[in-house]
Structures are given as structure tokens and as C-alpha cells.
Symmetry: C3
Subunit: 207 residues, 3 copies
């Protein structure tokens, strides 16, 4: 119940980010609906394929795609309001990332993955949708750009859920919330403080 | 039998479109064979991975890759004839799209997917190969461009097969043919009439 | 044992190539670690998903990602030494390709794939990581460029292992070594001799 609700909120938030990228790239209505769907459910489909849970939940169940389609339509008609709220989007995106890192790890633990595998699957769930979005519209994925911290908070969040659920007796929902809040909090703190990882040393780089 | 024949015709037609894109991008013989193979069987591999039917038919069985390789060789040596016939290619591509939408949905129903899942899988089978082709040669996927209707006819075709096979007693082959003809017909009608979906309203867009 | 060792050497070599590409693209530390990981284990994950062995070994087991992370850190801090040694990298990369073609085919045979399927899976294991690397950093994949022979030696190596292990009584390790050495040797010979496949005939190409 909690797991499902958190997951659907993440789907909606990521769909909004995908739809906005589609608007910026001048895609038509179908393109925007498609990018929103793939961004919103791409991470979850990757998670289910890696865990062997086929067909993936987002293919078997009509709810996630309905959510991403409604979100895409809202963005399509009202996007001027959204682009003016870019700051809000960054915050919502951080929330979605935290939710997917935590729920991805939790679902992996539920199908008896090792803690290591659950942490990796949580990370891939959190970054998979955005990666697919950026590859489709032909940008170097945000994930790889020398930008603000993104995947490190996701990995920390998924690791908390994976290790906590596997090695302690504390109830799953507690770890779910601690993991999601940690990932989102670190991401937002990093954005606010301008934390960055270093690029490779350049001294003798040529061509 | 009918299902297999329709599927192989779709593989051949999509392989031809992939090979022609490879020629235009100045790829060498192996590159052209590779793009033709991935375009021809990419949608089917995606379908089988999503349905958990591993190894995918196109990996397990030598027929599909043999078809794509022969098609690629023919295009490689005779492509001037093909590029002069770009109109013919668009028509063949529409036929392939309709065939994959219908066969993809039908195969999903055969492994007991829900009607919703079958419609989604049919759509992804129809568009998966072309998407892979465009990502590989670094173009914004045709699927996402503000161009003529492509995925909407595919979705209509796959939905007809999925809903018809699941909820009626009419024989599968009937739905297979109705679905494929509907998808291909709508695509061709859209090309002829210049139907397009609207881009997002631009009023206050900035940057 | 032999299979595992060969596989891990391949992971390390491919991770180094991915990390160097990340350095050249000015990615930050996390981006370099990510590209190294996806290049190193991408082919193996694709192999396991196609074979239905989920979760993939590289997700379930901490060794491969640890290898790619250590390699990425070494490249990050010492890359000027590596870029000066580009020739060495090409040789190491050829070794990795040969190892993955052979081990991929061998693992497919072990789960009872047909010889044809094993050859295809070996090829995809050998080229999958590099393909993912190039798509992520937005280059036309090396695999498709009119460049030196790359995938043909991989296919020859994987076919030797697949056919040999399936149809003869000679011990698997023999085929593993013959396949890997053949693929790597052909690739290096092709590099040394400048072997290339022909581009498509251009006579009447327009636009």
C-alpha cells in the first residue's frame, strides 16, 4: 500500500519531467506522451526485467501508463506554468528519484535479492527513466554530465533500504521512508550548496 | 503458420528500412547488416524480454537473422533502386508496422497477458525496432518527431487484436488481419492526407 | 574457474575503455565510474537478460562492479598515462572483445541454448558494452562505423565456441581458448593490416 503509493507518486513526477523535455524539444502530442511514459515507467521496467518479474508491472497494469498520460496532457496544455516553475520541477524530480531508489531496492529485497543486488537495482530504478529520456532526445544523459550530485544520493538511499531490510528486524516501511528521505534530502542539499564531484585532472590532456 | 508468415514479412520490411538508413549514414557492410538486423528483430526481442520468453525467438532461431542479412545484402548492392523508390519504402514500412502491432499483441495474448498488456506489447513490438535504429545512428527517433502519425495507428491495431482475442469468441486469425490492416491503413491514410498531431501550444515559451 | 577468470579480465579491460571515453568527454568522477561500469558489465547483463538468467550476474554479485569501479578510479587519477598508451588500449580492448565473445557463447551453451543462439549471444556479449558506452556519450557506435573489423572477429570467435562445444566431445576450456584467441587475433591482425569492409557502392547516391 505505502510502497504502491510512493511508487505512483514517483511515476507522476518523472513523467512530468519527461513531458517538459518533450515540450522543449518541440515534439508533438504523441511524442510528449511517449517521452513522459518512458521516463515515468522506464526505470520500473528495467527493474522488473533485471529481477525477472515479467511482464513488468508497468506493462501488465494499466495504472502507471494512465498516470503518465494524464500528466503528459496536463503538461502539454499548461506547460508555460511549469517552465516558469523550473525550481519546483527540480524539487519534485529529487522527490521522485528518492522514491524510486527506495521502492526499487525494496521490491528487489521482496523477491529475495541479495542486499548488494537490491542496492544496485534501486539505483538503476532511480536513474533508468531519466537515462532513457535523455538518450531518446539525443542529449548526453544528465546522469553523466559534470553537474550536481544525482546518482550518489540515489545509491545512498537504495543502499539504506537494501541493507536495512536485509540485515535488521526493523519494519520495511521505516527503511523505505528513511531511504527515500535521505536520497531526496542529499540531492536537495547538494543543489542548494552546489556540491559537485571533481572532473578528471587535466594536466597533460591532449585532444 | 499465418502468424509466423506475417511476422517474417514484417522482419524483412523493417530490415530494409534499417539497411537504407545505414547506407545514408555511410556505414560499411557490417554496419549495414547490423542496423538491418537490429531494426528487423529489435522489436521482437523487446517483446520476448518483456514477456519473459527467453531466449527471444530471434536469438534462438536462425530464420529472422538470415532474413535480415539477405535483405541487407540486397540493399547494399542495389540501394540506388531502393532510394529512388522511397515512396515504396514508406508503404512497406507501414505494412511492417501493422504486422508487428498485430503479431506482437497476438503473441502476448498467447502467453496469457491481460488485454491491456497485449496492447502495450504490440505497440512496443511495432515501434521498438525503429527506435533502436534511430538511437544507434544518433537521430531523434522518428517516433518522437512532430511528423506524420505513426504510433497512434500502431496502438489502434494492437488494441484491436488484444481486445478482440481476449473478449470475443471470433477466431484469432480474423483479429490478426483486422488489426494489421487497420494499423497499416490508418498510417497510409494519414500519410496521404497529411494528418498530424498538434505540437504543444507555444504562447509564452521562452528559451 | 577459467571461465570466471577470463570473464573478469574482460570486464576490467572494457571498464578501462569506458573510463577513458568518459575522461575525453569531460564527465565528472561519478560519470566516469558509471560509464566504466556500464561498458564493463553491459554486455554481460544483456547476455543474462537474453538467456533469462535473472538477476544478471553483474547485479547479483558484487565482484564485477567492484572491478569496474577500481579501474575507473585508476583511470581517473592516472589517465594521462593511459591516453599516451592508446595503442596498448586498442590491444587490451581486442583481448576483452575476444574474451567476452568466447565466455558469452560458453555461458549460453551451459544453459542449453542452440549453437546458433550461443553464437549470437556471444557476439552480443562482446559488442553490447561498447554499444551502450557509445550511445550514452552520444557517438555513432564504433560497431557501426566504417572502421576496422570489429564485430566480424567477435562473431567468428563466438561461433567457434558455440559450434565446438555443442557438436564435439573436445573439452569446453579448449574451445574457450581457441575462440578467444581467434577473435582477438583476427582483430589485431585486421588492425595491423588495415583490413576494412567496403562501404555501400555510391554510384547514383543523391542527398
Amino acid at each position: 500500500m505505502l510502497l504502491n503509493s510512493l511508487n505512483y507518486i514517483g511515476v507522476a513526477v518523472f513523467a512530468a519531467s519527461g513531458a517538459l523535455v518533450g515540450v522543449r524539444k518541440d515534439l508533438d502530442l504523441w511524442g510528449i506522451v511517449t517521452v513522459a511514459a518512458l521516463t515515468g515507467v522506464g526505470g520500473g521496467i528495467l527493474r522488473d526485467v533485471l529481477l525477472g518479474s515479467t511482464p513488468p508491472a508497468a506493462v501488465q497494469n494499466w495504472v502507471p501508463v494512465t498516470i503518465t498520460s494524464v500528466v503528459a496532457l496536463v503538461v502539454f496544455f499548461f506547460h508555460p506554468a511549469f517552465t516558469a516553475l523550473r525550481r519546483t520541477i527540480l524539487i519534485l524530480d529529487a522527490i521522485g528519484m528518492g522514491l524510486f531508489a527506495a521502492t526499487g531496492a525494496s521490491i528487489a529485497v521482496a523477491v529475495h535479492s541479495s542486499a548488494f543486488a537490491a542496492a544496485v537495482v534501486g539505483l538503476l530504478t532511480a536513474v533508468g527513466g531519466g537515462l532513457l529520456r535523455d538518450v531518446l532526445v539525443r542529449e548526453i544523459p544528465l546522469l553523466l554530465q559534470p553537474s550536481d550530485l544525482y546518482a550518489v544520493p540515489a545509491l545512498i538511499g537504495s543502499t539504506i533500504v537494501a541493507v536495512g531490510s536485509t540485515y535488521t528486524d526493523i519494519a520495511e516501511p521505516v527503511w523505505l521512508i528513511v531511504g527515500a528521505v535521505s536520497a531526496t534530502g542529499l540531492r536537495l542539499a547538494g543543489l542548494a550548496a552546489g556540491w559537485k564531484l571533481p572532473p578528471a585532472p587535466r594536466r597533460t590532456r591532449s585532444a
